[in-house]
Symmetry: C2
Subunit: 200 residues, 2 copies
């Protein structure tokens, strides 16, 4: 997220899927050894950012995401469409894609995309597949995170705060009030990682 509250910039396009300037929010991650390793690549930065990312990848046992993050549009979809992830998506676990139009699971490499209607059924199914001590990660987008926050189903919220002002775009938070507890701050020159626990 940018300090002005955006997780992607204005005017997303094919050239700039994360909107104007939005790509910069991900630079620290993409440069990290942890991200490269998850994507089957060597090299990358071995710094505190990479270490934090490595830890969260290691703890992730399942991921929930919205349909747009999988790669679908808003309406019913062409079931031959396999999303915009590569043949070996970086998850390597069960992914639960929220949709009003469920379809058969899709296996890609070590990742299986499941298509589920409703945030609670998706969470239930994700919880059922994770091992003891593993996390269910709510990957995004913002609307999905907001729905889980509103339903009181989030244990921890980590914000990777990148020092760039985007001035517009998709906001992480909606118009709900809430109390948080800050349980961890990890800083580097590129990004401040803030972990909160929703209160109450």
């Amino acid at each position: 997220m940018s300090p002005d509250g955006f997780i992607s910039g204005r005017n997303p396009s094919r050239q700039e899927p994360l909107g104007e300037g939005g790509e910069a929010l991900h630079e620290w991650g993409i440069a990290s050894a942890a991200w490269r390793e998850a994507h089957g690549k060597e090299g990358g930065e071995r710094n505190v950012d990479s270490q934090l990312l490595q830890e969260s990848i290691a703890r992730a046992g399942a991921t929930i995401m919205g349909k747009r993050m999988f790669g679908g549009g808003d309406g019913p979809w062409d079931k031959s469409w396999e999303g915009w992830w590569s043949d070996e998506p970086p998850f390597r676990h069960q992914v639960f894609v929220l949709t009003h139009h469920p379809r058969e699971p899709l296996e890609k490499g070590e990742t299986t995309f499941n298509f589920v209607e409703g945030i609670e059924p998706a969470l239930e199914q994700a919880r059922a597949v994770v091992a003891e001590g593993e996390d269910v990660v709510i990957g995004g987008g913002a609307d999905v995170i907001q729905q889980y926050l509103k339903a009181g189903l989030v244990d921890e919220l980590t914000i990777h705060l990148v020092p760039i002002l985007l001035g517009g775009g998709v906001r992480l938070f909606g118009d709900d009030r809430g109390e948080l507890e800050c349980i961890r701050v990890v800083e580097s020159p590129a990004v401040t990682h803030l972990t909160y626990r929703p209160a109450g």
Copy 2:
């Protein structure tokens, strides 16, 4: 600021001048020994938050603020109105109040409020009165901070990030894009203090 980007909440009123829930953004400051001392009071928390506030109070040689922060409304004002600060405001230095309706300076205790039109003249006058090594503080509100940021006149921006979601209200940032450099992070259970330097 709240992580969702607000420096005061929705629906400010006489009972809740900082809007719904907005008061919580200031609790860490008001509880601190540094704030209490600046307001002529004893006691208070002596923690990392207080120390940081003490340092910035000690370095502040002049303050610039908008008319609403002084206590005026939007239009021309009744010149008998002396703002909402007490007879001994906590600044104890020259304050420059931005206004389209300049008036004679107002002395209150060790603080003098000067009334100046234009952000550049105000900064120039403030710079002229500070000693070597002292800061000119842009106190607020958000619109004033945004104007100085846009004009490229801000050397450092410190955000006191308080773990509460306000869901609406006055946003610190406007719709301008910009690059920052994070130069300091100080954390406590109550608040994360993030200091940025605008780039370029």
